[in-house]
Homo-oligomer: 379 residues x 2
């Protein structure tokens, strides 16, 4: 069995739908052709719906790259040199975001949550009262711990204590699976990637900017990047969305086309219904693990993400062997990458079609195979 | 006729082969899966052959992005803050590269060639004698003018006058169509993109670094980028090429797979045979234009690129109407983008399968349609 025939259930890349696969393999188009302009225009318009934005001056961002590029976009556009940035850390990816911000000269303070938990809102409020922060970053779902932060509640704290602070959300592992109300919650930049719950091949940095984030980027006094510069990209994106050709760097034509098809699929079935189904699948999977005596990393259900599960190897189980056995049985899951827990836990993604289409049987297969692999070691 | 059914003959993206299209649509793979590691390993190994490198300490680079990202990689890794950089400009793209270098704090001097020509080697030698340059950049083929620079001869000048200067080649529109002898000529970084003569969908920055470029990047005292940082990418690329999984940012799985297939196709038919056939196709196309009384932008055959042709609209021809008419007849060509010549010329790409496989009839179709469109305006 080749890897492409195995069931891919890591926290991204995820299994993509047949329609998305087809969209990924179209013959190349000119980036300024009427057909591609229409594709890109529709994609950018649909991003507004995905983020539930009601402000026409917000702007979607799609650039060839990866989720990581969104950190550079934040650091080199929304943060001015010498700005204070408050990073809420719920794991490995939050800390890497902080590292990226420092590279670009930000003064970064990190509030670190206990492993498997979120940062208490009172601590956030206190910190925001102590110092003026230009930007706060929230990792919506940290893929290393599968902890979900309550972005709505945190945003409310920021609005109350320090309304001028821009709210940046790392939604790499949340966009398309957790609810995000961009306008209602008052967010300023949500950055994501194509290969997780958005259900597209990897290769795109996908984001959404508020009106004031756009202004912050356009007014930045100095430039520190070329490829990630919003001063260069914004006119291009605005043009494409208005149906006009524009050029700064060649977009990833096929992957943008795949994104267009995936967004149509996502919106067609209804966002809230999608999030509810994702939650249901997540609860089903976590309940099955609980039945097997497998504990999860998040300290309680409230902070457990819907798109993936991070779970501890039960006592007496050889983790490496367990993951290999699951792989041999045809299911690809991932090891853990959180420094304090490495070797102690595994991660299973349940996003996109795998979580939404029960008829595929992906989650049932995962539960069966995990059960077998655990039992094999007890023999 | 939809745009995907039209014959795409712009200077990139270009028509991709059926095998590459198929490779672009594989189901997603884990970036750390044995199968993807093998794909990426093979890709990185084959890049050595594509660049005719014989030094095992050189390193191929493949990162999700676009050709433009290669400029940021140069500016933020090989150029140290305050370094002098000499840019040889043969058009729009050379000038944009200079702009990118300045953003990162380089002191840039530009030697600008007359439109349609290259910078004389004597001028380059003189400039290198006047000042110590850390890096010289050569745009191998500037897509705005279709002028090809003699990289071998320029490199020889640099080696003689200022051997410590790193030689960076923008090969976005040359890699895969013009000969590049990385080791023999003593190059340090050739940057390219996937969607031109390499024959892959857009979405990848593809490059090749010399041993001393690798050292320059690794020894850079300060960091000015995260996503484009070779200090972060090099260990990852070395690991993948050694068959070991590694993570910094998620690669564009499907497009890397397409690159792997395309490189196999390119190497299978023989590099030199490919370059010779490309040259032959280019000469055939240019001769056909000459027969129609259409003059090309490059001042003579020696400086005319093999992968595309930039040609002036003949007197009395409405350029916009001509390009539209060609489009209506099913062939997509491009307008000009060089500031001094905008509206006066058009560009036709002849790279990849369109140039190499006569049985497809792409070039004959282009000649026929261009002839008809010109005749239509004479009626």
């Amino acid at each position: 069995m080749s890897d492409t025939e195995k069931l891919l259930l890591i926290p991204g890349p995820i299994v993509i739908s047949e329609a998305v696969r087809k969209a990924q393999s179209i013959q190349s188009l000119a980036h300024t052709s009427p057909e591609f302009i229409k594709i890109f225009q529709n994609t950018l318009k649909n991003l507004r719906k995905l983020f539930k934005s009601t402000n026409a001056k917000d702007q979607g961002v799609v650039i060839a790259g990866s989720g990581t590029l969104g950190w550079d976009i934040t650091a080199s556009n929304l943060v001015y040199p010498g700005d204070n940035v408050l990073v809420l850390s719920t794991g490995f990816f939050s800390d890497s975001f902080a590292e990226c911000l420092r590279v670009y000269g930000a003064n970064v303070d990190v509030l670190t949550a206990p492993v498997g938990d979120v940062v208490p809102n009172d601590d956030i409020a206190k910190k925001l009262q102590e110092k003026k922060y230009s930007v706060i970053t929230i990792t919506h779902v940290d893929t290393s711990t599968a902890v979900v932060s309550d972005v709505e509640a945190i945003a409310a704290v920021v609005k109350k204590v320090s309304p001028e602070t821009l709210i940046v959300v790392d939604g790499v592992c949340s966009v398309g699976v957790e609810d995000i109300e961009f306008t209602k919650w008052g967010l300023d930049y949500v950055l994501s990637a194509s290969q997780k719950a958005i259900g597209v091949p990897s290769g795109l940095s996908i984001g959404f900017l508020s009106e004031r984030a756009v202004e912050r980027a356009l007014n930045r006094p100095t430039q520190s990047t070329f490829f990630a510069s919003l001063q260069r990209w914004l006119p291009i994106l605005v043009n494409y969305e208005a149906g006009k050709p524009s050029y700064f760097a060649t977009p990833a034509i096929q992957t943008v086309n795949a994104l267009n098809v995936s967004l149509e699929e996502i919106l067609e079935s209804g966002l809230d219904a999608r999030f509810a189904k994702n939650k249901q699948t997540s609860q089903k999977f976590k309940a099955a693990l609980a039945d097997l005596g497998v504990g999860i990393v998040p300290v309680n259900e409230t902070v457990a993400a819907s798109g993936l599960t991070a779970a501890y190897f039960p006592e007496g189980i050889d983790g490496g062997k367990f993951i290999s056995d699951v792989y041999a049985k045809g299911v690809v899951i991932a090891g853990g990458i959180h420094k304090q827990l490495v070797g102690k836990y595994f991660r299973v993604g349940h996003m996109g079609v795998s979580a939404l289409d029960d008829s595929l049987g992906h989650i049932d297969t995962a539960i069966r195979v995990i059960t077998e692999a655990l039992e094999d070691q007890k023999k």
